[in-house]
Amino acid sequence: MNKREIHAKGGAADRLSAPAGASHLMGRFGDQLVPAIFLIALVITLSLVSPNFLSVGNFLDIARVVSIIGIMAVGMTIVILTGGIDLSVGSTFALASVVAASLIPGSFSDAPRILAFVLPVPFAILAGLLVGAAVGFINGFIIAKSRVEPFIVTLATMAFVRGLTYLFTGGFPTIFRPMPPLFEWFGQGYVFGLPTPTIFFALVVLIGVWITRRTTFGRSIYAIGGNEEASRLSGIKVQSIKIWAYTLMGALAALSGIILASRVGAAQPTAGLTYELDVIAGVVIGGTSLLGGRGSIMSTVLGVFILGVISNGLNIAGVPTYYQYVVKGLLLISAVGFDSYLRKMQRN
């Protein structure tokens, strides 16, 4: 008898021009649609331009390379969803990797040792992860309690933690003589034919997706980023959720750093310099808003793959260095530009 009942049942009232189901689907995957199409188009173009691009081996390389940035980007997505940002990831990446490496049996550095003991590989890795989590916790704690902009807080820790890393290493890399097999596996191994970094990345993504979509923690993250005050008034533990988000970010930066140390066979104090931009770029290209509250882990996965495919493809296609810069930048802008334009059109 009146429209309201019909609305409430979610059926197709004559005023609704699209059935709820379809728009529900669009709402779910609409965000990823355009970036995904762009990625596919990119892959097709690159395959046509250079036949060597399209091979299982190359795709595995891409998957492995993007994993390092990708693991951090999952954490960064969560942080950005809360309306924050973390610039210290590159430094955390380095600190965790040098600490973990220095604890691994067989590690060697020209600098005097700071920690005079070694641990079995899993514990050394765990120690590295804890260092990363601790940095993240400090970021989160200061951000949640002081209300200083996350940009500045993490900019400060970026410098501070880099300094710690230099002091810890004396500026020297830590190498392995030899590298314990378990640690070697950590970054260089294979599981079911897939490189371990990719496996870790996939796991992190799965967990990230589960957290953001299926847990109260994830829901709270979106809520805080969407409207912090309303969230607080709804009884959400804003401070502790923020602290957790940054702690998770720190641990993931550490994981990534430790994997890279294994992969390249050394932990370096300069590791991860400027990674923050790459990581944030991956998140933002995927479509997650820096303002918080809007975006998803799957978008980020697309974002880091877009970045990875561009830089891999340009090298494989043999584009000369300086032109690579130009093309890379233009591709990046068009990857997002097209999506933004469509959205803007849709809004009007």
Partner: protein
């Protein structure tokens, strides 16, 4: 009498080359009776220009400069000259471009020569013909330019050598690995005869990729710097050629300058560091104390001086 102070603006700190060099410098300074203060140039000439201003303001007795890029520091060197402070250039050279600037001495291993050696080794490795790939340093960095130029100059003399690709990996291990993976995807077995890496760091990453792809031994690998790790790899036949130097040799810059600021005449012709003797040549009409670069391959890798740093 009060101990003289020397300010040293180093290109950047976070590289083993410079860590060793500074360690050596501390030692030399103790022996020579001078105090050195180091400033981190952070790979940015404008930061180094500020260092120079600060050193002048602090009233240091002598200045050592390791210019991250040569040309942008010409005005800074002019200021040092105007202030009458003795100056020694170290590790990286600087061109005057005909400007009225001067320094007491340049103490630097020969970046150009390192490139020339690399070129010659590459030619030798592939017998004067074949296809090579060059993994370059940071685009625009002094070492990339100097080393690269000298390298390409040698290669150009051999029309049968084709450079398939020049790809930068920014003197960075991870990047070296990534770029090498790309190279291996792009060029199938048999298509490459040698890869020249413009620094050991990139070689280390590259080797990981090569080994992971199971393509070790398929082509020659030529590298430069002579880190211990690299020399071990050379002996293990994973790297075929190295150009090695000893970064800490360059610490004699402190000894030379310390002599000058204390009114002694430095013996430029007979500088040694840990028993290694250095050449005295000329660059830009000024003295160049030149620690040697050694070409190393499997034939001489076992020698004690070729153990790396």
């Amino acid at each position: 009498q009060e101990m003289k102070t020397i300010g040293w603006s180093v290109a950047y700190f976070d590289h083993p080359v410079y860590q060793l060099m500074m360690k050596g410098a501390e030692k030399v300074a103790d022996e020579a009776g001078c105090k050195v203060i180091f400033a981190d140039g952070k790979d940015d000439p404008s930061v180094q220009a500020s260092h120079i201003d600060n050193f002048i303001a602090q009233g240091v007795d002598g200045i050592i400069l390791t210019p991250t890029v040569s040309d942008p520091l010409i005005p800074a060197v002019k200021k040092v000259n105007d202030a009458g402070i003795p100056l020694v250039m170290a590790d990286r050279r600087m061109q005057t471009h005909g400007q009225p600037i001067k320094w007491e001495a340049l103490v630097s291993w020969d970046m150009v020569k390192s490139g020339t050696i690399g070129g010659e080794q590459t030619v030798k490795a592939i017998g004067g013909k074949g296809n090579i790939v060059v993994v370059e340093g940071t685009p625009g960095a002094g070492s990339t330019i100097d080393r690269g130029n000298a390298f390409y100059e040698v290669i150009e003399k051999y029309p049968d050598i084709k450079i398939l690709a020049k790809i930068p990996a920014n003197f960075n291990r991870a990047k070296g690995q990534e770029v090498t993976e790309n190279i291996l995807q792009r060029f199938k077995p048999g298509e490459i005869d040698a890869i020249y890496y413009m620094a050991d760091e990139m070689t280390f990453g590259g080797l990981q990729a090569i080994k992971a792809a199971g393509r070790l031994g398929e082509f020659k690998i030529i590298s430069v710097d002579g880190q211990k790790e690299a020399m071990d790899l050379l002996r293990a036949r994973e790297i075929d050629y190295e150009a090695i130097f000893h970064p800490d040799d360059q610490a004699v810059a402190v000894r030379i300058l310390c002599d000058i600021v204390n009114g002694r005449t430095p013996d430029l012709a007979n500088q040694t560091y840990e028993g290694r003797k250095m050449d005295l040549v000329e660059f830009e009409g000024m003295p160049w104390v030149r620690p040697t670069v050694y070409a190393v391959d499997k034939s001489n890798a076992h020698l004690p001086e070729n153990q790396g740093w």
